[in-house]
C-alpha cells in the first residue's frame, strides 16, 4: 500500500477514497466553525456538497462548486492522479484536470456519515501516547520518502 503524500491541510483537512466515493471535508473560507462535506461517487460521478448540518452548498449551480474542485485537487495531491482516476473510474487524458473529466450531476448524498468519519479521524490526535513497547509495529517499517 503506497503511503500518502504530504500536502497542505488548511483548506481540505480530510480526503478519502471510501464507501465507493471520493469524499472529504473542506473548511469554509469565511467561517472557521463551518465545514463543507463534499463527495463524488465512483462510476456515476454524481456529486454533492453540503454543510455538516446538511444544508446544501450555495455554490452548486449545475456544476461542481469550489469545494468539490478543491477536494478533487487535494485528492490528486494525496493519492496521485492514477489512483483517484482508477477509483472514480474516469479517463483523464494527458494534461487534463480530473474535475473537468467528470460527467455526473448533483445528487444528494449522506453528509453525516462522512463528517463522523472525519471526527473519528481527528480523534486519533487526542489518543494519548504510550511508552510501552509495541512489538507488533516491527511489521510496519516507516517507509522512505516517496517521489
Amino acid at each position: 500500500m503506497p503511503p500518502v503524500r504530504p500536502r497542505k491541510l488548511a483548506k481540505v483537512p480530510f480526503v478519502e477514497l471510501a464507501d465507493g466515493r471520493l469524499q472529504g471535508v473542506v473548511s469554509s473560507g469565511s467561517d472557521i466553525g463551518r465545514v463543507y462535506v463534499s463527495s463524488i461517487a465512483a462510476g456515476t460521478h454524481a456529486y454533492n456538497c453540503s454543510t455538516n448540518n446538511n444544508r446544501p452548498c450555495g455554490g452548486l449551480y449545475g456544476a461542481p462548486c469550489k469545494h468539490l474542485q478543491a477536494l478533487a485537487a487535494e485528492a490528486v495531491l494525496q493519492y496521485g492522479l492514477d489512483r483517484v482516476a482508477r477509483y472514480l473510474r474516469v479517463e483523464v487524458p494527458e494534461g487534463a484536470g480530473l474535475i473537468g473529466c467528470l460527467d455526473g450531476s448533483h445528487e444528494p448524498a449522506p453528509a453525516a456519515m462522512v463528517f463522523s468519519r472525519f471526527l473519528r479521524h481527528l480523534a486519533y490526535l487526542e489518543v494519548p501516547d504510550t511508552t510501552m513497547p509495541i512489538p507488533e509495529l516491527h511489521w510496519f517499517p516507516a517507509e522512505g520518502t516517496v517521489g
Partner: protein
C-alpha cells in the same frame, strides 16, 4: 561485526527452519481461501500443523482443533489453538535464528525467566464479557478466518471500526488496537481482495495470528516489570515504525548502570497515534512532550537516568522526567566501546517471531557492492534500504557512500539483512555522520526545512480542527 562473524552468520539457516515454515505456509494458504470451505488439501495442512505438536502438551488440543475446523465447526477456541501452534513454530524459528546470531556475534543474552502467572481477574474476564472490545476483536478475527482473505469486502473490514475505537480507549489494549487498525487499513485498501493478483499471504497470517493471541486477555507471555534502573544511557540509534494511524520511535542503546554493574542493551519506545496525512519529518512533532529523549537524539548526547522502569524484555518504560541530557555521545564510539560486552535481553514468549529480531551491530571496513550490499572480506550482507525512514536524513545514496554503519541485523524473506541507523561517510574529504534521529527536534537540511514550510504544519491544522469540531 567482523568478517569472520558475518561468515559464521551466513553459514546456513538453522536445521528445521524450512520444515517449520512449510507447515506455517500450509496454514496460511488455508486462510487465503477461508476456513469456511476448506478443500481437502487445506484440511491436510491443518492436520500437518497439529501433527508437529503431537508429542507436546498442546498436541491433543491442536489435533481436535484441526479436526473440528475441517468438519466446519469453527469455534474461537479452535482458532486460538491453531494460532498458538503457528506462533509456536515461528517462535522456534526465531529462537534458532537468534541463537545463531548471538553465537556469531559472541553476544551473551539474559535467560528468560517466566514471571508468576498473573492472578485471574473475575470481574473483567475478557473470555466472558461480551462488551469487552477484546471479545469484539476475537469475533472479527474469526469472521476473517471463515471468509478467508479472498472473501474480504468493505463491510467485513468496516465491522472492526468500533472495536478498534474501544480498544484505543483502553491503555492495556494498545498493542492489539494498533495492530488491528494497521491490518484493517491494509485490507480496506485492497478491497475487494478477491480481485487482487497476489496477496501478502505470510504477512496477513502473521498479523492475524498475533492479533488473536493478544486478544486472549491476561498478560501471559507479555513483558513484565523488572524494577527500575539508574545510570547512563548511550544511544545507538532510533528505529521508526509507522502505519496510517500510529508511529513508534524505538531507541536502541546501551545502559551503563550507576552501581557499576554490567552494561546492557536496552530499548526505549514512544508510540503516538496520528493520521495518514501526518508523515515524514512532521511525525517528530507528535512525541514532543519527551523533550529529553528528543534532544539526546538530535544532539547526539547521552542521558542520565534515575529510577527508570525497565521491563524484562529489555525495554525501558520511558518517563521523560526521570532523564536528563548528558554529555556528547557519538553512536559509533558507543558501538565500538560498549557493544561487545553488553548483555542482551531475552525475548518474551509472545514476541518470539523472526520479525522481532533487530540486533544492534557496528559494521565497518566494508566495500559497497553494485546493488548496495556490504561486502565484508568476501562475506556479503544485504542492506535493507526499504527501512530508511522519511523522517530522517539517511538515504540509500548516503548508505551506499558510507564507510561505517551502526544498524540492526534483521531476518526477512529467508535472509539476513542490515537496517542502517547511522552511517559515517566521506563527503569532499570530510567525514560526515548521519543518523535516523538527527531530525528529532526538526529537520536540519535547509531543503527539507523549506519543503516542510511549504506543506504547512499538518499537526497544528488538524489539532485546531479537532479542538473546534470534536466537542460540539
Amino acid at each position: 561485526m567482523l568478517a569472520v562473524q558475518l561468515t559464521a552468520l551466513l553459514g546456513g539457516e538453522p536445521q528445521g527452519t524450512a520444515e517449520a515454515l512449510a507447515l506455517v505456509h500450509g496454514f496460511d494458504e488455508a486462510l487465503v481461501h477461508g476456513l469456511g470451505r476448506l478443500a481437502e488439501e487445506r484440511a491436510e495442512a491443518l492436520d500437518a500443523l497439529a501433527g508437529a505438536f503431537a508429542a507436546t502438551p498442546i498436541g491433543e488440543r491442536l489435533a481436535e482443533a484441526a479436526a473440528k475446523v475441517a468438519s466446519g465447526s469453527i469455534a474461537e477456541e479452535h482458532l486460538t489453538a491453531l494460532a498458538g501452534g503457528r506462533a509456536a513454530l515461528l517462535g522456534a524459528v526465531h529462537d534458532a535464528l537468534l541463537a545463531g546470531l548471538d553465537a556469531a556475534l559472541e553476544r551473551e543474552r539474559a535467560p528468560w525467566q517466566a514471571a508468576p502467572a498473573p492472578e485471574a481477574d473475575g470481574a473483567g474476564n475478557p473470555m466472558t464479557d461480551a462488551g469487552n472490545p477484546a471479545a469484539g476483536a476475537r469475533s472479527w478475527l474469526r469472521e476473517l478466518a471463515i471468509a478467508g482473505w479472498r472473501g474480504v469486502d468493505h463491510d467485513l473490514v468496516s465491522a472492526v471500526d468500533q472495536t478498534v475505537e474501544g480498544l484505543l480507549a483502553v491503555p492495556e489494549q494498545r498493542r492489539l488496537a494498533v495492530l488491528l487498525d494497521g491490518l484493517a487499513a491494509e485490507l480496506r485498501a485492497c478491497c475487494p481482495v478477491g480481485t487482487m493478483d497476489r496477496l501478502p499471504v505470510r504477512r496477513w497470517a502473521d498479523l492475524w495470528t498475533r492479533a488473536l493471541l493478544l486478544a486472549q486477555g491476561g498478560a501471559a507471555g507479555a513483558p513484565q516489570s523488572a524494577g527500575t534502573v539508574s545510570g547512563r544511557l548511550l544511544i545507538l540509534g532510533v528505529d521508526v515504525h509507522e502505519h496510517g494511524t500510529a508511529v513508534q520511535f524505538q531507541v536502541h542503546g546501551v545502559l551503563e548502570p550507576a552501581d557499576g554493574g554490567r552494561a546492557r542493551l536496552v530499548r526505549a519506545a514512544v508510540t503516538v497515534a496520528k493520521v495518514d496525512t501526518i508523515t515524514g519529518p512532521a511525525t517528530w512533532k507528535l512525541p514532543n512532550r519527551h523533550r529529553m529523549l528528543l534532544a539526546a537524539l538530535a544532539d547526539r548526547r547521552s542521558l542520565d537516568l534515575t529510577d527508570m522502569p525497565l521491563l524484562d524484555s529489555g525495554d525501558l518504560v520511558w518517563h521523560d522526567d526521570r532523564a536528563v541530557v548528558g554529555g556528547p555521545a557519538d553512536p559509533f564510539t558507543t558501538a565500538r566501546l560498549t557493544l561487545t560486552g553488553a548483555l542482551a535481553p531475552a525475548a518474551p514468549p509472545l514476541d518470539r517471531h523472526p520479525v522481532g529480531i533487530a540486533e544492534p551491530v557496528l559494521v565497518e571496513g566494508y566495500r559497497v557492492t553494485g546493488d548496495g550490499s556490504f561486502d565484508l572480506g568476501g562475506a556479503v550482507l544485504d542492506v535493507d534500504a526499504g527501512r530508511l525512514p522519511a523522517c530522517g536524513p539517511l538515504t540509500p545514496q548516503l548508505v551506499a557512500g558510507s564507510s561505517a554503519c551502526v544498524g540492526l541485523v534483521r531476518w526477512d524473506g529467508g535472509r539476513w539483512l542490515l537496517q542502517p541507523l547511522a552511517v559515517q561517510a566521506t563527503v569532499k574529504r570530510q567525514t560526515v555522520e548521519a543518523g535516523t534521529g538527527d531530525w528529532a527536534l526538526g529537520p536540519t537540511d535547509p531543503k527539507v526545512v523549506k519543503a516542510e514550510a511549504r506543506a504547512g504544519d499538518a499537526v497544528a491544522v488538524l489539532r485546531e480542527r479537532a479542538g473546534r469540531l470534536l466537542r460540539r
